[in-house]
């Protein structure tokens, strides 16, 4: 009994997120029976691959007590930059590697400014956002189409799942899943991951405990940069184009997903698994609206907004409950 109670207290926000997801999905299935098809479920992963990837990076940053507003713009930059490079007939693998290096590089620079110059992460990454978005338009003001066989292959190859007939995902979808598993292990069972939690709780304490605070912070921002560049590649693969206007304010969707997933913006608590459900809740609302067909897509925003508020409420209730113990 006691064990169940501590388990509930410890994982309350996460369980609440999962419960809401199941609830929303059940309502959707009830309203539109077609939603019960496995492919609709998989489409959540396919359609939200980029959001999932940047949200994973964002989760790590937020657990550490930081924030990264540059991720949406980084998607645009890496999509348009890779399209431009592919136009010049560069090897597609090389292009991807370059994009990832660029993401890591920009994240690293922002991390350095945040840590060594002690500038607020909010300000630094906002500037990073301006830079990336601006740079994307500097490269090309209009949308650039990608005509590359390797990209076509990635975009169109369906991977069929065992046991489910006609259910499939695309190759880029897997990137998000692999990243999710990797980050889950990273956060829960490595020194690096636990250091991230420690910094999120109290940076000064972490420093005095002799933990490598500077290195960890730089790696975390670089990791977020890596994630957003990867998301940009996934984005450009699925749309087979690059454009400076892609992923407008997607960083806010990512932050909302992270919060809905039970990660506190104050840092120190949260899971990447919760973020997955945060992203999926976002996706399921979109799906329901699509199935409905008469409501405007802006209802998604309202739905996500209301949910985010509810979740922040639930979280603080949990923390109040814990403190009174």
């Amino acid at each position: 009994m006691h064990k169940i109670k501590t388990f509930l207290l410890k994982n309350g926000p996460l369980l609440a997120t999962i419960a809401i997801f199941i609830l929303v999905y059940a309502i959707g299935g009830q309203l539109y029976p077609a939603m019960k098809k496995p492919q609709v479920f998989l489409n959540l992963f396919i359609n939200n691959a980029s959001l999932l990837i940047i949200s994973i990076g964002m989760t790590v940053v937020v657990i550490m007590g930081g924030i990264d507003l540059s991720v949406g713009a980084m998607i645009a930059l890496s999509s348009v930059a890779s399209a431009a490079l592919l136009q010049n007939n560069l090897n597609p693998i090389l292009v991807m590697v370059l994009m990832l290096l660029m993401g890591i590089g920009l994240g690293f620079v922002m991390g350095c400014i945040i840590h060594y110059l002690k500038v607020e992460a909010f300000v630094v990454t906002l500037m990073g956002q301006f830079f990336a978005r601006g740079m994307a338009y500097v490269i090309n003001e209009s949308s650039v189409t990608i005509k590359n066989e390797f990209y076509n292959f990635l975009a169109l190859t369906k991977i069929h799942l065992p046991y489910f007939e006609k259910a499939y995902v695309y190759i880029p979808t897997l990137a998000g899943i692999v990243l999710l598993i990797f980050t889950f292990i990273l956060l829960t069972s490595t020194r690096f991951g636990r250091t991230v939690y420690a910094i999120g709780n109290n940076e000064q304490s972490a420093l005095l405990m002799g933990l490598p605070v500077a290195r960890t912070k730089l790696i975390v921002y670089s990791f977020s940069g890596f994630c957003s560049a990867l998301a940009g590649i996934v984005f450009s693969v699925s749309l087979l184009s690059g454009y400076g206007g892609y992923a407008q304010s997607m960083e806010m969707d990512a932050i909302a997903s992270v919060v809905i997933g039970g990660t506190a913006l104050t840092g120190g608590t949260g899971t990447v698994l919760g973020t997955l459900f945060g992203v999926m809740i976002n996706g399921i609302i979109v799906s329901i609206l699509q199935f409905n067909g008469t409501l405007t897509s802006w209802w998604t925003r309202i739905g996500v907004g209301v949910l985010t508020l509810i979740f922040i409420g639930i979280q603080s209730l949990f923390y109040v409950g814990k403190k009174e113990k």
Binding site: Y197, S205, M209, L211
Partner: protein, 502 residues
Amino acid sequence: MSNPNNEIIRLEGISKNFPGVQALHKVDFCLRKGEIHALVGENGAGKSTLIKVMTGVERCDEGQIFYDGKETVIRSPLHAQNIGISTVYQEVNLCSNISVAENLLLGREPRKLGCIDWKAMNKRAKAIMQDLDVDIDVTQPLGSFSTAIQQIAAIARALEISSVKILILDEPTSSLDAHESDLIFKVMRKLCTSGVGIIFITHFIKQVYEVSDRITVLRNGKLVATHETNSLPTIQLISEMIGRSLAEYDEMKKSEFVVNHKKALLEAKELGRSGEVEPFDLELHAGEVVGLAGLLGSGRTEVAKVLFGIDEPDSGSLSVDDQMIKKHSPFEMIMHGVALCPEDRKASGIVGDLTIRENIILAMQARLGWLKFLSKQKQYEVAEKYIKMLNIATPSPDQLVKNLSGGNQQKVILARWLATDPKLLLLDEPTRGIDVGAKAEIQKMVINLAAEGMGCMFISSELEEVLRTSHRVVVMRDHEKVTELSGEVSEREIMQAMAGGE
């Protein structure tokens, strides 16, 4: 042999300037193998800065450090740790969100395939804590344990660092009760026999004599002297620390209090809150100081919280000045002329980034309501008045509070509540973590306030202090009021009541 005196570390002529303050001025210090060396001095004497220099948090402007006989520059806390200097700070500097095991071992955790080997880690952590006679579930987050356990975990972590040669304990016992302090002293002595040098910083003079071999006294950033503990009388130590004679300490006498048979200012009947404090009766009269004694966790703070409406009582009644309190909230109590100085000044009292003036005005403004404007001139008047009255050491009322020493911060909080002109003042550990001189001043102030007709409740873990200030002593044990002593009370009587001995 490079260091014939068994010295582990020797600091020579250390100076350190901060903007506007010379924190250290040509200080010498040395620590021998296997000794417990007490570092004492008033707040602002430079103890913390000296420690920071030794642990690489700050670089000294002048002077040399010889570590193990060789001149060394200590570059960072990590570097200090690596060469064998570990520190446990006054505030528990661990992370409350992760488990005790992680707090103990993170950075040196056992690993399997690059991942943390949780099983081995928890087992090792458990063993480490058991070595210190603490048996807890190390997988629980640190924040779910008491401050005492957290402090012991902090020491355990410091010990875990391979081959500790110097262990610095910065007021480790300031939040512990006698039994828990003893636990730590036991560990300290054990470590000494294995050759570790311990630097022990504390405000408890008694503890200095209890464990230390040598004492170094600092005052105003300068070295006063280093003594063998055996050959230093307490009186001399204290006068060296505060730089003035103890006369004013002695002449402090509480005014005689005669219960005038008027109604009590505050009257609690069967007031209680389940799980926090058992129902109790309490009366506070104008002009009276009532001491509240008890061990850590005996329910002292809970009494104050229930009285002040922070925790809503679920039984009994409370009246102030014959008026029944119906809605229990701090706001309501402030309106009835009650003020509370909370226990943890950093967490729930002081706003470090505001000036002294602004901090003092806060509660006054709240009482007036936000719409009534308090003119700048009036604000300065109030601030100046209390700075003078409470002897707050500051160049101006516009100094940021975070730049003040602990004792002066405490005075600012006191000033804040005095400015609301309360009839009743609840003080929860007002002298915790501040130096001897400031302690005496605050005690004197409480006595004076009572003499002027205010009712005071004085909560403290230091019996001597309770005895010196209070007319009546209420003793708490296990969340229950066990007895009330008045007249000539002896320390022995209180201790017996606290311990529950017959």
